[in-house]
């Protein structure tokens, strides 16, 4: 019922196409002190190849926990996560993660080494020179050619996040998991990074799962947006994103208003319940 997908920006996923990532009734719980807290309750979603799949919701909706479960860092108490029909049980380089924190780069390695390191230690590339070439190639894509020999502490926050993205993409993983990667950046840099991410996607059509709490960011990045409600996280809706030329304009405003309403309705209910 919501803005129909633009023709050139969304792929045709008929029932005959198998999903790349299949999340089925996943309930995630974690222990905090003496309490067991349910982060998500029976969440299901299918992510297809080349998707820019956005998990959107307020804080406490379990979107980051769900992403970490896909990364293999959390074991679902119920349900399964399958990547290429294989159940995810542990972390692995086929699902590279980009975190929000700037300290995700290894401070003892130069920018190039940071990008080369996962290639070499996962055994994806054994030859050092080849790994270096690939690292330099992806660093060029994120416009960091001038800083390949710098150490992470010499870079700004946005540059560090670009290195992390290059590192993730250089591995050419099945899916790139991004956990609010731009949330700690200033507004101008954030917009620039979103544009760059879209350019990169246009270039290689990688599959990305993107967690955010910003409605604008979700509309701009996603071709598919999953809304989650908080406490515990449940699927509220799965919407199609907009075509690239519609992400600013009346359609975007309308979608934004709708999403806002959906997420905001929860807060009113919550207020009544607790009030």
């Amino acid at each position: 019922m919501y803005p129909s997908p633009g023709p050139k920006d969304t792929q045709q996923t008929g029932p005959h196409v198998a999903p790349l990532l299949n999340i089925e009734d996943v309930t995630l719980q974690y222990v905090a002190g003496s309490m067991v807290i349910t982060a998500t309750y029976q969440v299901s979603a299918k992510v297809y190849k080349a998707d820019r799949f956005v998990l959107l919701g307020p804080s406490g909706c379990g979107k980051s926990t769900l992403l970490k479960a896909i990364g293999g860092f959390h074991k679902p108490t119920e349900g399964t996560i399958r990547l290429h029909d294989k159940i995810v049980t542990e972390p692995g380089p086929d699902r590279m993660m980009v975190f929000q924190e700037f300290d995700q780069l290894l401070p003892w390695q130069s920018v190039t080494e940071n990008v080369m390191f996962p290639l070499l230690c996962s055994g994806k590339i054994r030859n050092r020179k080849e790994a270096r070439d690939r690292a330099l190639h992806y660093l060029e894509k994120v416009n960091l050619s001038k800083f390949v020999d710098s150490h992470p502490h010499m870079l700004s926050g946005g540059m560090k996040q670009r290195v992390a993205i290059a590192r993730g993409m250089a591995m050419e993983p099945d899916v790139l998991l991004m956990d609010e990667p731009f949330a700690a950046l200033d507004a101008l840099t954030r917009v620039k990074m979103q544009d760059e991410l879209l350019e990169l996607w246009d270039d290689t059509h990688f599959t990305v799962l993107f967690v955010t709490h910003s409605i604008n960011e979700a509309i701009k990045i996603g071709n598919r947006i999953m809304l989650m409600s908080p406490h515990p996280g449940q699927v509220k809706a799965e919407l199609n994103g907009l075509a690239r030329d519609e992400i600013v304009g009346p359609k975007a405003k309308e979608l934004e208003r709708y999403i806002h309403q959906e997420l905001f309705a929860d807060k009113i209910e919550e207020g009544v319940n607790h009030g």
């Binding site: 975190f99 300290d103 995700q104 290894l106 003892w108």
Partner: protein, 294 residues
Amino acid sequence: MASVAQSAVLVERPEIRTTPQLASSIGAVQRELGFWERAYGNGPLRKFILLAILAGIWQIYGVSVGNNLLFPTFTDTIAAMWSSIQSGTLPARVWASLNVLLIGYGAGLALAAILTVLAISTRIGEDIMVTLTAMFSPLPSIALLPLAMIWFGLGMGSLVFVLIHSVLWAVALNTYSGFRATSTTLRMVGRNYGLRRWGYISKILIPAALPSIITGLKIGWAFAWRTLIAAEMVFGVSSGQGGLGWFIFQNKNMLDIPSVFAGLLAVILIGLFVEGVVFKLLEDNTIRRWNMQN
């Protein structure tokens, strides 16, 4: 309404618009530091001047005491040191001490490595390490010397035993707390790469914990020196190989106090060298270069 209220409160001013001057017309955006500023910024030079001042104070106090048996002057000490270097006794003693020290230090580090790796790999290993450290860390090594002499006799064995005791707990505790302090993000990054067990420890945890590990190495080194000199004073002459501690003790017996001071000075100089050169090089090339410590 609002604007009336505002205009009553706010002070009205004209707007200001200017064009910033070109950097070239301002002149000194960058300038080189002057000679004194650079000299003050030079750590080794600052420390050398400090040492020279301390030596000066020593000399003045020594001259004012005027009794070589109580407090020899700096120059007397240096003279005594020079003559024992020329006679070959001091270098032999230093060598004997360093030899034992390096063996004990190395063995202590190896055991500390095994203990901490066990501690982060398994929960029971963690319990063992925490309990043992809590038990033995406060126990002075010298207190173990009588036991060590019964077990290992008067010789290198006993010395190495007490040295291991003095190094092991300090290094293990620091390394372990460094591992524990590694950020969750870095740990997740390492596991994301598919690193496990030894690969994870050696490629993620050890570099990430390096600031704490180096601190542990320094503390361990200082503890080892103290323990060794003290232990050598208890027995030093087994198989004719006394160390520096024995050198100090022997000269005290002969009331050659300048030589006692020379022995102490040798301990201090070696300490300064290890701290100021060996550990500094290690830090400059690792954690300082990576900005993990300032």
